[in-house]
């Protein structure tokens, strides 16, 4: 990796701004498309590159379609806004203008599933990865820290295909990805009673929740494609083929891939994530929402313990 620019106390969204600001100087193919969100922070870059930092105002259908047109014209476009407006609002444009036209693009959301707890449901999008996953040909990165965000943004921009990068205010205190093999599932801790697979920002709380439980803790930040081979190896090294999946977005988004990776083994899976049961009509803080979805340390510990006791 080249010079890291993600500093302590910067958020993943800050890292996005710093990374594309620098890469605009280095990569003449790169264009950044905005719909007002994060525009103020990228104005200095626009001063230097007036035709490659494009703010369209509050027009999210156009955000995606312009991204398509830029790619058709030969550029490497990055489109960015909150996930609800990036993925949900103009989903048919993602399906047709990027997928069906078969062009490459990088979509970068910032806001996670419920980073904006006090803003309410309009600014929350726990279904973003599940929606993208209905479309073929997408790579999905869910970095767990600002430094990982920089790594995956650079990787995404260097590619030519379709990549979704999901950034969140929720982050681990350190980076865990193997910089040499960032798409592989990484074993963080080994144990015997099963495997807990933590996705992106879920890892720190999973490590804390399982501190007293004899399980393997595995980590993935590249979720599409998911490293099924790595998961399988981790499962085979444990005594039982029991897997707990902890995702920061809609519960069970990746469960079918775990089943596919273990299809020749009798296995059990418990999926933890943002609840599908009911809309959470609640403001408050991240901790309140984590607890409501069973994604806080205490709830994860209880879920993992209960699941293992079934065996």
């Amino acid at each position: 990796m080249t010079t890291a620019i993600a500093l302590q106390d910067t958020t993943m969204r800050d890292t996005f701004v710093l990374t594309v600001d620098r890469l605009l100087d280095e990569d003449p193919r790169l264009a950044v498309v905005l719909a007002d969100i994060s525009y103020a922070a990228l104005k200095p870059a626009q001063q230097r590159h007036p035709h490659r930092v494009i703010n369209l105002g509050i027009r999210e259908q156009l955000l995606i379609s312009v991204t398509s047109g830029l790619a058709l014209a030969g550029l490497r476009p990055v489109a960015h806004t909150f996930p609800s407006f990036l993925v949900e609002r103009a989903f048919e444009q993602i399906k047709l203008d990027l997928g069906h036209q078969d062009v490459g693009a990088v979509l970068v959301s910032a806001g996670g599933s419920y980073d904006m707890t006090r803003a309410g449901r309009t600014h929350q999008a726990p279904g973003d990865v599940a929606l993208i996953d209905t479309l073929p040909g997408w790579t999905v990165y869910v970095p767990g820290s600002p430094a990982e965000a920089e790594l995956f943004l650079r990787r995404a921009i260097a590619r030519d295909d379709r990549v979704y990068v999901r950034l969140s205010e929720q982050a681990n205190a350190q980076s865990y990805v193997d910089y040499g093999r960032p798409d592989d599932i990484r074993i963080i801790r080994r144990g015997r009673r099963g495997v807990v697979l933590a996705i992106g920002p879920m890892l720190d709380r999973v490590l804390a929740a399982t501190a007293g439980i004899d399980v393997t803790v595995a980590y993935a930040a590249t979720v599409r494609p998911l490293d099924g081979r790595g998961l399988r190896q981790a499962v085979l090294a444990a005594d039982r083929a029991d897997v707990v999946l902890v995702e920061p977005y809609l519960t069970g988004t990746s469960t079918y891939l775990i089943d596919a990776a273990l299809e020749d083994l009798p296995h059990r899976v418990r999926s933890l994530g943002v609840s599908r049961e009911a809309e959470l009509r609640m403001y408050g803080d991240l901790a309140d929402h984590d607890a409501a979805h069973g994604l806080d340390e205490h709830s994860i510990a209880a879920s993992v313990g209960a699941f293992l006791r079934y065996a």
Binding site: H51, I54, R59, Q61, L62, V66, S68, G69, L72, A73
Partner: protein, 233 residues
């Protein structure tokens, strides 16, 4: 007929009949045929050898339904083997009821769902400008019914503010918008600062003059009015 044959406008009914089986009504039934012919015959700087040239003019057919006239004009101009027309829609044909750019490389975009072509065209024009390619034009054909889609409103406003002077929209107006556009379609573009021309969509001279013009610092629209679409029984 061979791919390289240089066809004339008079050959279009026969080519269209390959697709529809009806030569007699071919030209009258396609509101877009005259615009498409004039574009490919006299305006667009693109030919079958230059469909990958980064400095070619781009034509985006946004109104992808009823592509009979489009396929016929592409065949007449050598972008497409006329032999393919008769089997359109078959499993091994690159020609569907809506065009797919991956199967048909001469098509700049696949279309079918309405309201996508103009917003994509704004991106193409921005992308060409960002690379310093100031010569190629981007021309998008939409229908008056298609203009109902709100995505066009986002694109019409932004294209003017961003001064996309190499972008031209042709609106083929055959009065097919269910709720209509009181005061006329041209107004919707004029209020945003586009250069506006309204012409007879069947008159090749009027079309050629209007489509041949661009304006400095602003995008252009040509409203090509044809006879109202016949209501199906």
């Amino acid at each position: 007929m061979s791919v390289t044959a240089d066809h004339s406008y008079a050959d279009l009914p026969a080519l269209m009949a390959e697709l529809t089986g009806d030569e007699k009504h071919a030209l009258a039934s396609a509101s877009t045929v005259d615009v498409l012919w004039v574009l490919y015959d006299r305006i667009l700087r693109v030919d079958p050898s230059s469909i990958d040239d980064p400095d070619r003019d781009r034509f985006l057919l946004s109104k992808g339904h009823g592509p009979v006239a489009y396929y016929a004009v592409l065949a007449a101009k050598g972008f497409l083997d006329p032999e393919l027309l008769a089997n359109w829609g078959e499993v091994d044909s690159p020609l569907g009821y809506h065009p797919d750019r991956v199967l048909l490389p001469a098509a700049e975009i696949g279309s079918g769902s309405l309201g996508h072509g103009l917003p994509i065209g704004v991106g193409v024009a921005l992308g060409l400008r960002a690379q310093g390619r100031t010569r190629p034009r981007t021309v998008v054909l939409i229908g008056d019914g298609e203009l109902d889609e709100g995505s066009n409103a986002e694109a019409i406003a932004a294209a003017a503010r961003l001064r996309l002077d190499r972008l031209t929209v042709v609106v083929v107006d055959n009065s097919s918008s269910s709720l209509g556009w009181p005061g006329g379609i041209a107004q919707r573009f004029a209020v945003e600062g586009w250069a506006v021309t309204t012409v007879n969509g069947r008159d090749h001279e009027e079309l050629a003059v209007a489509l041949g013009r661009t304006a400095p610092d602003r995008p252009s629209v040509v409203v090509a009015v044809t006879e109202p679409k016949e209501l199906s029984a």
